[in-house]
Point group: C2
Chain length 72, copies 2
Amino acid sequence: MKRADQIKSLFGQRVKQLRLQAGMSQEAFADKCGLDRTYISGIERGVRNPTLEVINTIANGLNVKLDVLFQF
Amino acid sequence: MKRADQIKSLFGQRVKQLRLQAGMSQEAFADKCGLDRTYISGIERGVRNPTLEVINTIANGLNVKLDVLFQF
């Protein structure tokens, strides 16, 4: 069970980890997702609260299944 | 990889499945989550696009880890 004040940071760290494993810059990843680089940056820093649809877009951009994205 | 137009429905079906497995009514589940019953209903019907923080609240209300919630 994740605390509400932790979840955005934990999710952001996981996105960054998987992005770096895939060898993508924030800019390349943002382009692949069709999102703005500053938005990706905000997610990775845990200051954004992305919706289900955006989370799905991110999983697709990372080529991982949603449950893998949430393994943290 | 889930299509953008499917993800809300797939997520909603999974929430409903886990809620029923836990033997909770929508109302009892909504109370447990601190969310409105009509909002839970909208999520289960795939018409809502919940944020990461709400998704975390739902996982906590179902007593499942986030990756389990996304196994569909």
